[in-house]
Symmetry: C2
Subunit: 437 residues, 2 copies
């Protein structure tokens, strides 16, 4: 039986998941491939800890270069994380003619262009299904399953930690801090959850998705991002009254030939399928010009789902190797590596609907002042909830707008927050309507 | 630029969708493939009608054999439908070394084994993404995206017509006949909707999915099926009171080493993601041993979504042809064609929870009689709703059971329906709990 030799660099959570699958589903994988995946070496600084998987101790090494330099190894699996060392290993592996499988979203998001060029130069495959949305085969879907379509837009829940926290806040009325504590205790948030809750993790993944969907590398730094740490239960309740929930969305869409890409908490209509994606689940809602709306849903993190994606990539490369080919599908699904990068529509040009919550003194004429300034900046109001008569003088005034320009919105809020009847910084959410992705 | 020549047999709805995509997205397809897909010939008995697509009239022919016998044609797209002629064309095409793309679920479900053997014998590809769930790339997901997993179970909404009708019945309280009329008027049901509403269509698709998931051909005839024509608004309302909705589910799961496969209306918990799949949408909920639960959602029919799947298959074959290979992935995702067929667990061995609605005379002691017979047949009651005091003497008694065996349930209902206090045939639904797929 043909044999594909692999080397694993980074024996952490995902690495352990991958090894578990290769052991537990060995027979299944052989039956599907007609080939054997042989784990020849594992490199990690810690080769002493028991990961709960049965490994021949002679495959372990603390020296990743043993893998990079081993002429018998066909595929290097990079699960080191971070960008510096990982980048070195991956480049060296490709230079030595080895294929690469990685789950490293930051690496692909920040250095994708260079990596894909190197892969082309050395005629090797670089696979990264595990870098976006864990076990959900969304890379394959964009590259192959929906390949006949112009992608019109994507709305995605790409960060399980944030979605878990928002679910707790919505279902139990908790504050952000309370929900975060529960997430940490339940293992859904890391000790330092910054990258998850500030939107960086979702923006990394969106960078990759945008590149695949629109065929041009997209710069991570160009993606607008806001996290969920400012979300409060009051706005979740008001959202509910209007028929929405709040989700951390990663959004990319083509509008009049320009591409928008942004990550922020957004209002999602309760009858949209994404509104029902709760707990730590991820989902990617993709609209193609012919296929229409589709959704891909599953667990976006964890050793088992992410391990599943890594092994599916290994099997893909094995299938190529059995047939004696490489690079059957190009990394970004477009054959020619584009010379230029994607130029995203500037955020202040965004046109969408908005939700504002003003903290205003409970006096006659306040609403008229607020709506006057909005009107003067081309923002028209769709509906208003004014919760009345607080004892302490300040009451929430909640407004949903019709479509307006982000730039006009920012200008208005700046003016409005200076009014003496407005007592706190105004809260803003963008509203994603069901239609017209 | 390399060129892949295709011939289309059957220029109906899906065929027109395919042609539209090849015309509208020609540049995109070339950019993704680095090759051109050339539609060389189209065969249909009707070559006079205007399908709204711009076609060079010289490609049209009424003789399908012109395509089958054309040595320049690399791929035959079979969109004739039915099993007789379609089977002939497909077999002849493969015998002449041509690859085949088909959307014909009945063909694959009934003759899959023979077709796959023929494809192997002639070293050609046979692709059928469009045969299950229209534009949703579920075949690829099972074969490649989730290939590292043992599939534990599948719960799927595979018939858009039924789902549309059930959505109308649920949202508007309509009867089955009223909802069916609307479905016909809106183009969601055909003039003769039998195959859609009696579960046959879903059972065809489940046959294909089961074969892919478990690696053994499954006989269509072995799949238990019940349609939605007996569903009534009363049961939908009671389901809601218990926290469920009613969906036509296609279910396949492994239980203690045996495979269950069945199609019938079922109770689905309202907080399950499948409960939110409404209108004409399809969705396939797949649980793998490592990836956990996943969902694939989209439009399961229509010329544009199904056309999208057909063209994705063409692009897949083109990618193989560019690299000079065939059969990179075997049709059922397992390399060895299995000698035997899958032996399904007999339906009377099924263990699940049940909903019963008895029409009973409103007399003391009725519930005790009913529960006595259920108890004597090992069926224990989880909850009861007894709607009381109808004027006309008969009232509904609604019962949810704990897990029970189908065989015991059938025996009980036979006894119960003979009781003089039971005035009509008892209504039965199977309940799919969220957990333990």
């Amino acid at each position: 039986m043909p044999q594909v030799n692999i080397g694993l660099i980074g024996f952490g959570t995902v690495g352990t998941g991958m090894v578990e699958i290769l052991i537990n589903n060995r027979q299944l994988i052989e039956d599907r491939l007609g080939a054997e995946i042989v784990l020849k070496k594992i490199a990690d600084l810690d080769i002493g800890s028991d990961r709960g998987v049965k490994i021949d101790p002679t495959v372990l090494t603390t020296d990743a270069m043993e893998i990079v330099n081993d002429p018998d190894i066909d595929v290097v699996v990079e699960l080191v994380g971070g960008c510096d060392q990982a980048m070195e290993y991956v480049l060296m592996a490709m230079e030595r003619g080895k294929h690469v499988v990685t789950a490293n979203k930051a690496l692909i998001a920040k250095h994708g262009k260079h990596l894909f060029e190197t892969a082309e130069q050395h005629n090797v495959d670089i696979a990264f299904e595990a870098s976006v949305a864990g076990g959900i085969p969304i890379i394959r879907a964009l590259r192959e399953g929906l390949s006949a379509n112009q992608i019109k837009g994507i709305l995605a829940i790409l960060n399980g930690t944030s979605n878990y926290i928002l679910t707790r806040m919505t279902d139990e009325g908790l504050s952000f801090d309370e929900a975060l504590s529960i997430a940490k205790r339940s293992g859904y948030a890391e000790v330092d959850p910054t990258l998850d809750i500030d939107g960086s993790d979702a923006a990394h993944k969106l960078t990759i998705i945008v590149s695949l969907a629109f065929g041009l590398p997209c710069r991570y730094e160009d993606i607008f991002k806001e996290g969920i740490d400012m979300v409060c239960p009051e706005d979740i309740r008001f959202a509910g009254e209007f028929g929405y929930c709040i989700k951390l969305l990663a959004i990319a869409r083509e509008v009049d030939g320009h591409i928008e890409a942004r990550v922020h908490p957004a209002f999602v209509p309760l009858d949209h399928i994404l509104a029902n994606v709760n707990e730590a689940y991820n989902a990617i809602y993709v609209e193609g010009d012919f296929v229409g709306p589709t959704l891909f849903y599953g667990l976006g993190a964890g050793k088992r789902p992410t391990g599943s994606a890594v092994v599916s990539d290994l099997m893909d490369i094995a299938r190529n190797q059995i047939k004696g080919i490489t690079r059957r599908v190009s990394p970004l699904s477009f054959v020619r590596l584009p010379a230029k990068e994607l130029s995203l529509k500037p955020m202040d040009q965004l046109i969408t609907e908005y939700y504002f919550r003003f903290s205003a003194l409970d006096r006659p004429g306040v609403l008229s002042k607020i709506s006057g300034i909005l009107g003067a900046n081309n923002i028209s109001i769709a509906s208003v909830i004014q919760k009345g008569r607080a004892g302490h003088g300040s009451v929430p005034v909640v407004i949903l707008t019709h479509e307006a320009k982000e730039n006009d919105v920012r200008k208005s809020l700046e003016l409005l927050d200076k009014l003496d009847v407005v007592t706190e910084k105004t809260v803003l959410y963008r509203v994603e309507k069901k239609t017209g992705i």
